[in-house]
C-alpha cells in the first residue's frame, strides 16, 4: 500500500509467481478436501493420520502402534493439533490410544479395523484425485522444477512427510 520509502514491492514476475502459487494452493486444498469428504467422509487431516498409521501397519504388522510424539514429528504438526485430532478420531472409532508402558508419560496410537478399512478404501480415489488435479497436469520437467522450488523455499527444514 501507500509508498513508504524503502519498501521493495513485488515486481511483475514475482507477483505472478506469488499470486499463482496462492491461488493454486487455495483451490487445490479446497478441492481435495471436498472430494475426500464426499468420497470417503473424511478430512485431509484424517487422511494424513490414517495413511501414516497405515504405512506403519504395512511395515510392522497388524498390531503396529506409534508414539504420538513420533506421529506429530512425522506429520510436522503441533502436538496440540494432533491431540485434538486423535480424540475426534478415537470417538469415531478410527484409532485407539493407550499409554506407553515403556514411558508412561506418552501414548501409543494404532489403527482399529474400521480405521484400516477406511484408509484402504479412501486411498485409491484420493490418489486419483491428486493425479487429475495436480501431477497429471504437469510435465515431468515441471514436476522436477517444482521439487527444486519447494526445496529452495523450505531450505533445510528437518523434513517430515505430509500425506
Amino acid at each position: 500500500m501507500a509508498e513508504q520509502g524503502e519498501v521493495r514491492w513485488l515486481d511483475d514476475v514475482e507477483m505472478n509467481a506469488w499470486r499463482g502459487y496462492r491461488r493454486m494452493s487455495i483451490h487445490l486444498e479446497a478441492e481435495l478436501a471436498r472430494d475426500l469428504l464426499a468420497s470417503a467422509g473424511m478430512s485431509v487431516s484424517d487422511y494424513s493420520v490414517l495413511s501414516t498409521l497405515g504405512r506403519v501397519r504395512e511395515e510392522q504388522g497388524v498390531d503396529a502402534s506409534m508414539r504420538v510424539s513420533a506421529l506429530a514429528r512425522h506429520l510436522e504438526w503441533e502436538q496440540s493439533r494432533l491431540s485434538h485430532q486423535l480424540r475426534r478420531m478415537e470417538e469415531r472409532g478410527l484409532v485407539v490410544r493407550c499409554t506407553d508402558e515403556g514411558d508412561r508419560r506418552g501414548q501409543r496410537v494404532s489403527l482399529t479395523e474400521p480405521g484400516w478399512a477406511a484408509i484402504v478404501e479412501a486411498a485409491p480415489a484420493h490418489v486419483a484425485d491428486v493425479r487429475s488435479r495436480f501431477t497429471d497436469r504437469l510435465t515431468r520437467e515441471q514436476l522436477i522444477q517444482l521439487a527444486a522450488i519447494t526445496d529452495a523455499v523450505l531450505c533445510g527444514l528437518p523434513a517430515g512427510a505430509p500425506d
Copy 2:
C-alpha cells in the same frame, strides 16, 4: 495403501513434487500467518480484505466502497465466509457496511480510517516477509517456472486475486 489392482500410485518424481509442494504450502501458510499476527495483529484473511479495499481506495478516492459480492468474487471466497469475516472486522472497527441504495439486496463495504491505517502499517512488513520466505529464495527462472506450473494446475479458472 494395499495394492488394489489398477491404481496408479505416484512414482518418485511425482511424489517428490507432491510432498514438496504440500510441505512448502503448509509451512509457508503457517509462518506468514504467525508473522502477520505478531507484527500487525491481524490474520491473513484480514489482510486480504483490507488490502483489496485499500487498492480500491487508492484508485477511487477516500470514500470508495465495494459490493460485498464483488469482493467475494475478487477474493474467490465463499459468500458466507466473507460475511462472517466482515462482521468480525466491522466489530473491530476496520470496515463498515451499508446497504446499497441502488440494489437494496446488497451491501457495500468500505474501509474506516483505522482500517486504512492498519493496512498501510501492515503491508511493508508483510511484503518483506513474503520476500524473505518465498520470492527471494528463488531465481528469476524459478519464479517464471512456478507461474507456468500454477497456471497449468489452475488451467483456465476464472481468475481472481488473493492478497
